[in-house]
C-alpha cells in the first residue's frame, strides 16, 4: 500500500486494481488516527465503525465494476458540516453532542461519490479564529512543530492532512480559514468562489463570506475533491447556478503567457522577510515556466481588515442568535426566567472569542451606529472588490503571501486579539470580494512551512488549480511530511 499513498490518483489506482480494498485503506488511516491523534488533537469525533461500513459499501461498488474518482477514498470533515447520525459540534460547548437530523449538501455529495468519512476535525469555535486555540475541545498542534499552532479555523483538517491521518479533508474559509492553516501546515488548500460550494448544512459564521473548500496534499487532490463538492444547490439561494468545469482536465493548462500579478502593497514591512523570500522564489519558478510577472496595486488591505471585523461579527451576531438554550444545544442549569435562560446559556455555552465577536457585531448593527460601522464596512467591501477587478485587468492570477508570518507559537496571540486578527490581512480581502483563493506550500522558515497564496477572478478555480499543479510538477514542497509522522506514511 505504501507505494500508493502519495496522492488520491495513486490511491485510486490501488483501489481500482484491487491491490488493496477500501476497507484496508480505511483501516490504515484509522490506525494512523489512533496512533497519532492523541498528541495532535486534530479530531473531535472519530467514526471508525461508520467508516468501515462505508468502506465495505465502497468495496461492493468497486467489486460491481463501478469506477468513480472518490469511491473508497477516506476523508475527514471539518466539524462544521452537518452529518445525520454523527454529532456536529462546531468545537463549541454550545452544540456539545448535538446531532443534526440532516446531511449538509457537501456531505450528501461526498457520500454519493462513495468517499469514506473517518471523522470530524477540530476547529476554532464556530470558525472564529486563526490558531485553532478557540476550541472547546482543546487546541490542535502543528504537526511540523508541536509548539506551534496549526492555524485556523480549519486547523484540525490542516493538521490531519499534513500528518497524513487522512489524504484529504473539507474546510471552510470565511476570512482565511482554509488558506492560512494550509500554509501553516505545509499543505494545499482551496477556497472556491463564493457560491461555488453549497452552504446548506454548513453551520453559518458569516453568511456572506463563508465558503466550503478543500485541504489536501496537492492541487490535483484539491481538484478531485472540489469536483465532487461544487455545484448549484437549490437549497442555498446564494449558490451559483453555473456549470462546474472539469478541474482535473484543466490542470494541464500550461503557464506560458500567464500574467501573474504581484501586489506591491503586500510585500512591505508587515511581511516576514523569510516568508517574502520564499514567495519570491516561487514566483520566479512560475516565471521560469513561462509565466510573466506583473507588479500590481492592491491598496486598502487595512481597510479590508476593518471592514471584515465589522461585517463578519455583525452577521455572526445574528446567525448565532438561534443558540438560545430553547430548542437544542446547551442550556444552563435551572434558569430562573427567560432572560436568565438566555444570558446564562449563552455566557456558559459560547467561548470568549465567540462572545467577543457577537458583542462587536451587535454593537455594529445597533441603531445610531449602523451607518458608521456596518454601512461603511459594506462600502469598503465594494471598494475592495473594485480594487481586485481593476487588478485583474492587468493580470490573470495574483500571487502573494497567505499570512504575514509562518505558524506562531501556541499561546502567542491569545492575550491580544488584534494582533491575531492581523494574521488574516492577506486572506480577508479575497473573502470580501468573493474570489477563489489557494494556498500552496513553497518552502520553510526553519521547521515551519511557508504558503503562497494564489487568487483568481470569480469561477477561475480551474486556472488556480492548474497554476498550483504546474508548480507542483516542478517542486516537492507539497510532498514533505513532518518527521514525527513519516513512519508508515508515503
Amino acid at each position: 500500500m505504501s507505494d500508493y499513498l502519495q496522492s488520491l490518483s495513486h490511491l485510486r489506482a490501488g483501489l481500482d486494481s484491487g491491490i488493496f480494498s477500501a476497507r484496508e485503506l480505511t483501516q490504515y488511516y484509522l490506525d494512523r488516527v489512533s496512533r497519532f491523534d492523541g498528541a495532535l488533537n486534530a479530531f473531535i469525533t472519530k467514526t471508525p465503525e461508520r467508516a468501515l461500513a462505508a468502506a465495505d459499501e465502497a468495496d461492493q461498488r468497486l467489486a460491481a465494476g463501478e469506477r468513480a474518482p472518490l469511491l473508497g477514498i477516506p476523508y475527514a470533515h471539518k466539524d462544521i458540516f452537518c452529518t445525520a447520525g454523527v454529532r456536529t459540534t462546531c468545537a463549541s460547548k454550545m452544540l456539545g453532542d448535538w446531532v443534526a437530523p440532516y446531511d449538509a449538501t457537501v456531505h450528501q455529495k461526498l457520500n454519493a461519490a462513495g468517499a469514506v468519512l473517518l471523522g470530524k476535525t477540530n476547529m476554532d469555535e464556530f470558525a472564529m479564529g486563526s490558531s485553532n486555540e478557540n476550541s472547546a475541545f482543546g487546541a490542535v498542534k502543528n504537526p511540523w512543530d508541536h509548539a506551534a499552532v496549526p492555524g485556523g479555523s480549519s486547523g484540525g483538517s490542516a493538521a490531519a492532512v499534513a500528518a497524513r491521518l487522512v489524504p484529504v479533508a473539507t474546510g471552510t474559509d470565511t476570512g482565511g480559514s482554509i488558506r492560512q492553516p494550509a500554509a501553516y501546515c505545509g499543505i494545499t488548500g482551496i477556497k472556491p468562489t463564493y457560491g461555488r460550494v453549497s452552504r446548506f448544512g454548513m453551520i453559518a459564521y458569516a453568511s456572506s463570506l463563508d465558503q466550503g473548500g478543500v485541504l489536501a496534499g496537492s492541487a490535483e487532490d484539491c481538484a478531485l475533491m472540489l469536483q465532487a463538492m461544487a455545484g448549484h444547490d437549490p437549497r442555498d439561494s446564494t449558490s451559483a447556478n453555473q456549470p462546474v468545469p472539469d478541474y482535473v482536465t484543466e490542470l494541464d493548462q500550461p503557464l506560458a503567457g500567464l500574467r501573474v500579478g504581484v501586489p506591491r502593497q503586500w510585500f512591505t514591512a508587515g511581511l516576514d522577510s523569510v516568508v517574502a523570500a520564499r514567495i519570491e522564489t516561487a514566483i520566479a519558478e512560475l516565471e521560469s515556466m513561462g509565466a510573466q510577472r506583473v507588479d500590481i496595486d492592491l491598496p486598502d488591505a487595512e481597510l479590508a481588515l476593518a471592514a471584515y471585523y465589522l461585517i463578519a461579527p455583525a452577521e455572526a451576531s445574528s446567525n448565532l442568535s438561534r443558540f438560545d438554550g430553547v430548542r437544542f444545544g446547551y442550556r444552563c442549569a435551572e434558569p430562573r426566567d427567560l432572560n436568565d435562560l438566555y444570558e446564562r446559556s449563552r455566557s456558559e455555552g459560547f467561548g470568549e472569542e465567540v462572545q467577543r465577536r457577537i458583542l462587536i457585531g451587535t454593537y455594529a448593527l445597533s441603531a445610531g451606529y449602523y451607518d458608521a460601522f456596518y454601512g461603511r464596512a459594506q462600502k469598503a467591501r465594494r471598494q475592495i472588490a473594485a480594487n481586485f477587478e481593476a487588478a485583474f485587468r492587468d493580470c490573470d492570477v495574483i500571487a502573494g503571501p497567505v499570512a504575514p508570518t509562518v505558524a506562531f507559537d501556541l499561546g502567542a496571540h491569545m492575550s491580544d486579539p488584534a494582533t491575531m486578527y492581523l494574521e488574516d490581512i492577506y486572506t480577508i480581502p479575497v473573502n470580501l470580494a468573493g474570489l477563489p483563493g489557494m494556498s500552496v506550500p513553497v518552502g520553510f522558515s526553519g521547521s515551519r512551512p511557508v504558503g503562497m497564496q494564489l487568487i483568481g477572478s470569480p469561477f477561475t478555480e480551474g486556472r488556480l488549480l492548474a497554476v498550483a499543479h504546474q508548480y507542483q510538477q516542478r517542486t516537492d514542497w507539497h510532498q514533505q511530511i513532518p518527521a514525527a509522522y513519516r513512519e508508515g506514511a508515503a
Binding site: T88, A100, A204, D236, T238, S318, V326, R327, Y370
Partner: protein, 492 residues
C-alpha cells in the same frame, strides 16, 4: 363618556395577512392550520444550525398581486432584512422581513362610511406592504407555570400592510380594514379568517386637539380578532385617551391588548425606549427581482375587484350604491349573488335577488353566525324560490315562509309549496268570488267606504286574504276589489 368635541382622532392600521400558499415562505413545510403542535415545522422552520431559507415564489406572486390591486408601486427589486430579537417562538432569533426595500409601496383603497344620502367616500393611502415570515405561537395557558411553543406557524408567509395615519374614526378604520379584507380575498391570496389569525389587525390610535398639526402620542392595539371588536377597541381607546388628557394626564406610548369580555384595552408593554431590532440585509437571500413582463401578465390576470364589481352592479343591474356595496363586500357574497342570478336563467331579476341576499338571507346567516359559504340555502335553492316569486306563484310573504322552511331543511321551494299548499291564487274568477262574498257579508262597511271612508280598503283586502288563507295574488285582489267597490267619495 367624554365628548369628542374639540378632538381629532388619528388612526393608522397595520394588517398582517397570511398568504394562502401551500408551503411556507422559506421552506417546503405545509401551512395548513390546526395540525398537532410542531408537526408542520421542518429543519428550516426550527432554525436548526446550518439550514438556509429559500424564497417561495408563490408568496412573491401573491404580494405583487396585492400591490397591483391597490395601484401601488411593485418594486422590480426588493430585499429581505433580518429583524433581530430574542423570543422563544422565534426560532432563529431573527425574523426575515423587508425593511429597506419592500415589495409594495404606496397605493390606496377607497372606503365608504354611512348609508344612503349620508354615504361618504374617502381614499386611504397605504405606506407599504412587505413580505415577512410569521413567528410560532407561545401557549401561555396550557401548561401550568410554563410556556409551550408551537412552531407550526413559524415561517408562514405574511404580507404586512401598513396604512398612512389617515383614518379619523373607528368607523373609517373598520371600513378600511374590511376593504383590505375584501381585496385579499378577491385576489385569493388570503383566506381572511380572523378567528384563526389569518388576517390580523393592529391599530395605532392617537388624539390631538382639532387644528393641531403635530401627532399625539399613539398607542398600538393588538389582539383584535373581529371587525366588531376593532371598532369597539378603537372607540374605547379614543375615549380613554381623551379622558386621560382632559384629566390632566398624558398618553404613554404603549402596546395595549383588547379584551373583548370586558370591552376594554389594557397595557401589554410600554415602548418608552424604542426597540432596537438591529435590522440588516439578510445575507442568505438574494434580492427579489420581478420581471416587468411577468408583472404585466400578473396585472392582466387580476380578477374583478370589489370597487369595479360594485360599479358594475349599479350600472348593469340598477342596484343602489348601498346594495352594490354590501353584495361586493366579500367575494363569497358576490359569488353567491351572481350564482343565484345565473341559476334564475332568463327570469333573472337582479333587484329581487339583491333584496333577498342582503335581506332575509343575510338576516338568517347573521342570526346563525354563519358565513354565506356555509348557508344551508344554496344559491341554486334560493334561485328556485325567487323564480316562484318572479312568476307570481308566491307573494313575498309566502316566499318568506317558504324560505324559512328551506332554511330548516324541508326541501326545495317547489316541494315546500306543494306540501304546504302555498300556491298563490291567481284564478281571477276565484278571487272575484271571494271578494263578492266578503262585500256581501259587510254591507255597512261597503256603504261607509263608498261614502268616503277610503281607509276601509285595507280592511277588505285583509278579509279577502284571510278567506284565501293569504294565498290570493295581492295585485289581482287589489284590482278586483277596486272594480267591485267603485269610487270612495272621499278620495279624489
Amino acid at each position: 363618556m367624554s365628548s369628542m368635541n374639540g378632538w381629532e382622532v388619528v388612526i393608522g392600521l397595520e394588517i398582517h395577512a397570511q398568504l394562502a400558499t401551500k408551503s411556507k415562505i422559506f421552506s417546503g413545510a405545509s401551512t395548513a392550520f390546526g395540525a398537532e403542535p410542531n408537526v408542520q415545522a421542518c429543519a428550516v422552520d426550527l432554525g436548526l444550525p446550518g439550514v438556509l431559507p429559500v424564497l417561495n415564489a408563490e408568496a412573491v406572486h401573491m404580494a405583487a398581486l396585492f400591490g397591483l390591486a391597490i395601484s401601488a408601486h411593485v418594486a422590480p427589486v426588493s430585499t429581505f432584512d433580518r429583524k433581530n430579537y430574542f423570543y422563544p417562538d422565534l426560532p432563529k432569533g431573527y425574523q426575515i422581513s423587508q425593511l429597506a426595500q419592500p415589495i409594495v409601496s404606496g397605493g390606496s383603497v377607497t372606503i365608504t362610511t354611512g348609508e344612503g344620502e349620508k354615504a361618504v367616500n374617502k381614499t386611504i393611502n397605504l405606506t407599504r406592504a412587505h413580505l415577512e415570515e410569521d413567528a410560532g405561537k407561545s401557549l401561555h395557558e396550557d401548561f401550568a407555570g410554563m410556556t409551550g411553543i408551537d412552531l407550526n406557524r413559524a415561517g408562514t408567509p405574511l404580507i404586512e400592510i401598513v396604512s398612512e395615519p389617515e383614518m379619523r374614526s373607528a368607523a373609517e378604520a373598520v371600513a378600511y380594514a374590511r376593504k383590505v379584507h375584501a381585496i385579499v380575498q378577491y385576489l385569493g391570496i388570503c383566506d381572511g379568517n380572523m378567528q384563526e389569525g389569518s388576517f390580523r389587525v393592529d391599530a395605532n390610535v392617537s388624539v390631538r386637539p382639532k387644528g393641531e398639526t403635530k401627532l399625539g402620542t399613539r398607542t398600538e392595539i393588538k389582539n383584535v380578532n373581529s371587525f366588531r371588536f376593532l371598532e369597539r377597541a378603537i372607540d374605547y381607546e379614543i375615549t380613554r385617551q381623551i379622558e386621560l388628557i382632559e384629566d390632566g394626564g398624558t398618553v404613554q406610548q404603549q402596546t395595549r391588548l383588547y379584551d373583548p369580555d370586558k370591552d376594554e384595552t389594557r397595557m401589554m408593554r410600554t415602548k418608552e425606549a424604542a426597540d432596537d431590532y438591529r435590522y440588516f440585509p439578510d445575507p442568505d437571500l438574494l434580492p427579489v427581482v420581478i420581471d416587468q413582463a411577468l408583472l404585466a401578465e400578473w396585472k392582466a390576470s387580476l380578477p374583478e375587484l370589489p370597487d369595479a364589481k360594485a360599479a358594475r352592479y349599479q350600472s348593469e343591474y340598477g342596484l343602489s350604491p348601498y346594495d352594490a356595496g354590501v353584495l361586493t363586500s366579500a367575494r363569497a357574497i358576490a359569488t353567491y349573488f351572481e350564482q343565484t342570478l345565473n341559476a334564475m336563467g332568463s327570469a333573472a331579476d337582479a333587484k329581487l335577488c339583491a333584496n333577498w341576499v342582503t335581506g332575509a338571507l343575510a338576516a338568517q346567516l347573521n342570526k346563525a353566525n354563519l358565513g354565506i359559504e356555509q348557508s344551508p340555502v344554496t344559491s341554486d335553492a334560493l334561485a328556485g324560490l325567487l323564480l316562484r316569486v318572479a312568476d307570481n306563484t308566491l307573494s313575498n310573504k309566502l316566499a318568506k315562509e317558504v324560505f324559512d322552511a328551506m332554511w330548516a331543511g324541508e326541501g326545495d321551494a317547489d316541494s315546500i309549496i306543494d306540501t304546504r299548499g302555498l300556491k298563490q291564487i291567481t284564478d281571477s274568477s276565484a278571487i272575484e268570488a271571494m271578494v263578492d262574498g266578503i262585500l256581501a257579508a259587510n254591507p255597512d262597511k261597503v256603504a261607509e267606504y263608498r261614502s268616503g271612508k277610503d281607509k276601509l280598503f285595507g280592511f277588505f283586502v285583509g278579509q279577502v286574504m284571510k278567506a284565501a288563507q293569504g294565498k290570493a295574488n295581492p295585485q289581482q285582489l287589489n284590482e278586483v276589489l277596486k272594480a267591485r267597490l267603485g269610487p270612495s267619495e272621499g278620495s279624489s
